[in-house]
Symmetry: C2
Subunit: 112 residues, 2 copies
């Protein structure tokens, strides 16, 4: 989870991931499209690979990188828990707004 977020937090890495979203690509093509130098692309791909975000498939001297689904699914699952609790809180907020504001003192569950 944290590895996934760390890997995606780097701007150029995010660009690489978004490029790979369309289709698998060899290193050189990624470098050319994103105007990055080949060594940095290789390094970023190494990080992405270590984080389990991409898989490599060798074809001749080329290495085709492609996204793996699992980390994204995990991220989605994690997000789900937030969606739930936050919409709950939203509902509560909307209740407060549409009903009465004077009842704000009901928030006494400061129970730590």
């Amino acid at each position: 989870m944290n590895a996934t977020l760390t890997a995606l937090a780097e701007p150029n890495r995010l660009r690489i991931v978004e490029l790979l979203r369309d289709r698998p690509r060899p290193v050189g093509e990624i470098a050319r499209r994103l105007r990055l130098r080949q060594p940095q692309v290789s390094k970023h791909l190494r990080v992405l690979s270590d984080a389990g975000l991409v898989d490599v498939r060798p074809v001749a001297q080329q290495r085709i990188y492609e996204l793996r689904a699992e980390p994204f699914n995990e991220l989605d699952t994690w997000l789900e828990t937030f969606r739930r609790s936050m919409s709950d809180r939203m509902d509560r907020l909307e209740d407060l707004i549409s009903e009465r504001k004077a009842k704000k003192e009901r928030e006494k569950e400061r129970g730590d």
Copy 2:
């Protein structure tokens, strides 16, 4: 998007966010629960705030921090595009075109 990921990539910040998922909390409580020093918590909350992940609400000398829904929704939208393209690729790989059609129709009935 990148700001969100960068903010979440830091381990202690992630812990804070997960703590706030349950309910809004004041700084001191966060520090105590996560066994972090108060200044570091304030700094992390500053980063989270700048990234738009949290809102602050002053109550006396306390500051109650709570999650904002928007960044998480955006993350979810972003993730959606990956889910789509990656499952598409899967489908192509499995070559189950007609099966997929039936599946989609079933999903439509469910409201997707």
